[in-house]
Symmetry: C2
Subunit: 196 residues, 2 copies
């Protein structure tokens, strides 16, 4: 299982217009592109992937989860994943997972709660991390990656990571969008699994 947590600091926690993802929905477009890059192959889905979007732009944080093994009605375009996130936010979220559409679930909770629930070693993506070509990601293991949005991670969020088993990695010499980082992580793991 490969799991990706992406933190959307401005992402709204109530239903939003699909026509203004960057503005009124609080850079929801970033999270939508991460869903795409984490889950899509050409004409197929990555079934062994789960994506967790932490939406922090409301009074109470919510988490929306996409499960590659069971997700339905998802197309690669931003509007498609946005539409499923919106449907999730129309649900009355609780402190436990509620499925809103097949393979998409929502709950009330913050980044720390989610890490507690998952209880796994964290691979945190940051520009100054160790290059994944220098210290390769272990093949065939469970992995949990954490990525920030356009604002990176806050000091508080970094402290939450530092209190847990973690490593800090980078995917190359330039600072890239989170969805581009996910593409590069997948490629590295694909190569490792196929031994090329």
């Amino acid at each position: 299982m490969k799991e990706f947590i992406i933190i959307g600091h401005k992402a709204v926690t109530i239903p939003f217009s699909l026509n203004d993802l960057p503005g009124a929905a609080g850079r929801m477009d970033i999270l939508c592109r991460c869903v795409n890059s984490a889950l899509f192959l050409s004409h197929d889905l990555r079934r062994d992937v789960r994506v967790y979007l932490v939406l922090k732009g409301g009074a109470q944080s919510k988490i929306v989860r996409f499960d590659g093994a069971s997700v339905r009605y998802l197309s690669p375009d931003e509007r498609s994943s946005a539409s499923l996130i919106k449907k999730a936010l129309e649900k009355q979220a609780q402190g436990f997972w509620t499925e809103s559409t097949p393979g998409v679930s929502v709950k009330v909770g913050d980044f720390g709660d989610l890490l507690d629930e998952m209880n796994k070693k964290i691979i945190y993506l940051r520009e100054d991390g160790v290059d994944i070509r220098i210290k390769p990601i272990e093949a065939g293991s469970d992995h949990l990656f954490v990525l920030g949005d356009h604002m990176g991670l806050t000091e508080d969020e970094e402290n939450i990571i530092k209190g847990r088993e973690h490593e800090i990695v980078s995917v190359g010499p330039l600072s890239l969008h989170a969805d581009h980082c996910i593409v590069l992580l997948h490629n590295e793991m694909d190569r490792s699994e196929k031994h090329i």
Copy 2:
């Protein structure tokens, strides 16, 4: 200069609704994501990149060009690049480049015309190509990449490539979307330019 040609076989050549990029606009979402992955760094643009979208879903093919050195009003979301493509298609396209908004231009023309105009060696992305980690992309050179949409390239289009100086490369063991391939090509070139 790094140049990317992406062929959109169904992409319409007249103004379209921004609310249905995959359907009515003929998988315009694919081309919009390619614009994103070719041009965007985190909080910056790749100034040394040009993207050419070949729109083949009309009576007469058109080409829309994004120039990273001069493009304005472009945000990373699909709707933003779609909006600039739409503005380009509102122009009366001719057989020469007409600028529709800063850094975005349009002309009537097909894939072969464009290759004639560019007159450069082609690097064609195909699943069975030589892995870019086996035969690295030369650092610091001009490069012209050609990628297909969800339909790949037609036999006719492949024959157009075969009549010119070209090589066929791949970016990994799995079949990926064109925009994901562009991310991987950039990363390989970024590493090569920084010698890491």
